[in-house]
Amino acid sequence: MNDLTRQSAAVLADAIASKEVTAVEVAQAHLDRIAAVDGKVHAFLHVTTDSALEQARAVDAKVAAGTPLGALAGVPLGLKDVLAMKGEPTTAGSRILEGWRPPYDSTVVARLRAADIVILGKTNMDEFAMGSSTEHSAYGPTHNPWDLDRIPGGSGGGSAAALAAFEAPLAIGTDTGGSIRQPASVTGTVGVKPTYGGVSRYGQIALASSLDQPGPCARSVLDTALLHAAIAGHDPRDSTSINAAVPDVVAAAKKADVRGMRIGVVTELMGEGYQSGVSQRYSESLDILRELGAEIVEVSCPHFEYALGAYYLILPSEASSNLARFDGMRYGLRAGDDGKNSVEQVMAITREAGFGPEVKRRIMLGTYALSSGYYDAYYGQAQKVRTLITRDFNAAFEKADVLVSPTAPTTAFKLGEKLDDPLAMYLNDVATIPVNLAGIGAMSLPIGLAPEDGLPVGMQIMAPAMADDRLYLAGGALEAALIDKWGHLLIEEAPSL
């Protein structure tokens, strides 16, 4: 088999199961690729070489023994550093957790292990998943494989870049306001934010608990579906986990059919503020969907214009509380403990030293929004906006089976370009945030390169809660049509590095 790193996860799994290649060979090929290119990309914070090879050997042993295997057995994966993995560094991109090795596995990791998916290492991210560029990582930015001077999106830029740089065929992301979808969009890869509660959050270092959701990332819709199926499902350790059958996303990805499907174009999520090449590719994709037999309808979600405001109150509020535990008492960094400073001073010095500027900014904002006298005006109001946005979605889903929009207003911007302008950075998430506020599922998939800069553009598909299979039905159909048009996946056009 030619270059193992350029194969899809589905193909690799079949090759391993049929003994065409060994899982160790596959893992080693990807470890070699990481060694070769990650110096330029910096997708990984930590490569778990030993445990990856050990896992791969175990898969090969199962193959040899004829043990039945999962659909992705032996396929390598990059794990966002926000998910706890027993015994391996887990930093969430922050100095404050430098050196911490969790004594337990997150549920996602436990399921990956159970599925015999080989974890190559921990991928880079904005500190505590706060950001849209991965520039807020305490360990330095990740570079977009399409143009190393550009951002790979965020917060899960490491996972997306690992896919686009062919360092891993699968990756795990987490999405609080677009952290799976926006990186997928700007790297020409696929990412799905499942319905809230679809994938367990247990072991995901929390940013905003009512918005966070782990999800699958890959280079194709089918690979994404296979990974989705491996990690999804009820978890008694997560009280917000949905106790119902997971929609058959793999079957939907294979069916890949939009005939008769009503696809709603959200009028608030297009036009002004969207880069011309983004709008152009988006518009072409709508034409393709129509040609494939979908009915394109316009829907209006009038309260989406308030989504960003509500999001930037709810997220910092919950984050300010979730990040309180990083106080230097039980794990992680402790600074200023000179034997004289009080516990209060040591906590404050530790947090000042351990958190980056964006984290401190959001903690301050959240502390303010929750403080007495302001709660009703800020957090309380934001939660009402959440209700309004959910109602908008409900009304829209009366008219359409899925909704679509561009995933991000622009293609990948230059590193450093928006670093000092938080509001400009926040605007990247304008199209992805409503999904998190309502708790529904959404996918981003590549729909071409913007003519003006040659960089990938993503389309977002949104489905009602617990109907994640529709994302794959529509995404799979569009992807197939685009492959027909281009002769290959868009990612094949990425620079070879």
Binding site: A84, T90, Y104, I205, S209, D238, S239, S320, L370
Partner: protein, 512 residues
């Protein structure tokens, strides 16, 4: 007294209670925390056993490790609902947990999961009885809320001289206790109790403890901290607006509840009478002095930034569930006390003695086994309580069962044991010498009822004391006691003293 002291709310000399209460009406409020006796913690499966080695009953959840998430213990919710029902509360049909945000090293997440404006139970009451010079008086203490939260870890202060937090060089934290289910029961302000405020406070906490124990939801041991009480108190001139309140913590016994209220009334009245003002503050009660000292000032109110806990979903008890729980409610202590007094024909004082001895359930079980109530009470509060007190164990821990008492009483009724021998049987049981029958056999305990043997013993005793024999014959029957005593001695107590006396008098031809 210096002015500075006055502004601190401290006085050097306190008014005595009569003087203090004569000018003011107190308003009290009680916040009681109860650690539930569930097997596992509130949000995780860690054990709640008391006294385990430090940090051995912990997991990612109760250590607040990054990524961990709580899941509510169903038994804790049920216990809370049962407490709410016992306190005549309304059970919420929908409520949420909330995060109370503040930093403290004994709290692993630096927020406590609690309930804020949506408690599980609210608007109840508990009737308590206090003694007054005019007889018992019933006071209705209204309950504001009963809500669920979690306990913190345990701090030990090291370095420094006292082992107290003040002056310590550093502290050590054991998180075994972190995450144990904690219930907070908050009263509405209790007004109109006047000089009885200290007694009402104590009676309330006592009765609340009785209820908790009757429900079986906690051992409610104040000395071990599984039940803790904070006392809120303010005073004001009659008819005036309520005064500023203080909150006294560290009140660790029922007696201290009463003392803390009394002391705080005395302190506040002293401050006000001296022209000072009461500041809103937390105070710490000291068992040794019976006084409190000032803690943290609350003038700058804490800002806990409560918001709904996003990691937990709402609790919405169905009517069916609440009714199922209501069906499990035991008889409430006050009702039970009234019933027992009537059934056993005893007064409140006698019942209280039984309660203090921890004997009520044992007596009930003994009666249920078929023993008459007077006999059951006699054994448990007499010989058995004495042994328990002497050996420092709980009555219920003695290896004597209600059924043992039934057997002993049967032997007494049959005339084969007397009370003195019965005490020896109990001694044998407590020493682990076997069953009642085995102890009787091994120790050879049986009333000697063979007339021949008794007559021989009588003759022997008479022969040894001819002068006494003469006295009896001459009509001084009271002297018979000496001979009876001697016979009892030679038979090692195994004779029926009344029978010995009858035989003796017959022998000497004397009639009573």
């Amino acid at each position: 007294m210096s002015t500075q002291n006055m502004t601190n709310g401290e006085v050097d000399v306190y008014l005595d209670y009569d003087e203090a209460i004569s000018g003011y009406d107190p308003v009290i409020g009680l916040e009681t925390h109860v650690e539930l006796g569930t097997k596992s913690k509130m949000w995780c499966g860690c054990s709640t056993n008391f006294g385990a080695d430090s940090n051995t009953q912990v997991c990612p959840v109760c250590l607040g490790l990054p990524g961990s998430m709580p899941v509510v213990n169903r038994a804790a919710v049920e216990s809370t609902i049962r407490i709410g029902l016992a306190l005549n509360c309304t059970i919420a049909d929908w409520c949420r947990f909330a995060r109370k945000n503040y930093f403290y090293p004994d709290m692993p997440k630096d927020y406590q999961i609690s309930q804020y404006d949506e408690p599980l139970c609210f608007d109840g009451y508990l009737d308590v009885t206090v003694e007054t010079p005019d007889g018992p008086q019933v006071v209705r203490v209204e309950i504001e809320r009963v809500h669920m939260e979690e306990d913190t870890g345990k701090l030990t202060h090291a370095g420094g001289a006292t082992g107290r937090i003040h002056g310590a060089d550093y502290s050590l934290v054991d998180y075994n206790r972190a995450g144990i289910p904690l219930i907070e029961i908050v009263t509405k302000p209790v007004t109109g109790t006047g000089r009885l405020a200290p007694e009402v406070a104590r009676a309330y906490v006592t009765e609340l403890r009785n209820v908790i124990i009757a429900l079986g939801v906690s051992d409610a041991r104040m000395e071990e901290g599984s039940m803790r009480c904070d006392v809120n108190l303010s005073i004001a001139k009659p008819g005036a607006e309520w005064g500023t309140r203080s909150e006294t913590k560290n009140v660790n016994s029922l007696r201290s509840v009463e003392r803390a209220v009394r002391s705080e009334i005395e302190r506040q009245a002293s401050v006000l009478n001296n022209g000072g003002r009461i500041i809103q503050e937390t105070r710490h009660f000291h068992e040794d002095t019976g006084r409190s000292t000032s803690g943290r000032s609350k003038e700058q109110a804490e800002d806990y930034r409560y918001f709904p806990e996003p990691d937990l979903v709402p609790v919405a008890p169905s009517r069916e569930w609440v009714e199922e729980l209501r069906a499990t409610m035991p008889e409430m202590p006050a009702v039970k006390r009234a019933r027992l007094q009537a059934e056993w024909n005893i007064n409140e004082f006698e019942l209280q003695s039984l309660a203090n001895a921890g004997a009520i359930e044992l007596v009930e079980a003994t009666i249920a086994a078929g023993v008459d109530s007077a006999a059951a009470r006699k054994w448990w509060t007499g010989e058995l309580l004495r042994v328990a007190n002497d050996t420092g164990v709980e009555l219920e821990s003695l290896s004597v069962t209600p059924d043992d008492i039934k057997q002993v009483e049967a032997l007494i009724a049959a005339g084969s044991l007397n009370d003195k021998l019965a005490r020896q049987v109990f001694d044998g049981l407590i020493n682990g010498e076997g069953t009642v029958d085995e102890v009787v056999t091994k120790r050879g305990l049986a009333v000697v009822s063979d007339d021949g043997a008794l007559l021989a013993a009588i003759d022997e005793a008479l022969a040894a004391a001819p002068d006494v024999a003469e006295k009896i014959k001459s009509g001084k029957i009271q002297a018979a006691g000496a001979i009876v005593g001697a016979v009892m001695k030679t038979t090692r107590g195994q004779a029926d003293a009344a029978k010995v006396r009858t035989l003796l008098l017959e022998r000497l031809g004397v009639s009573e």
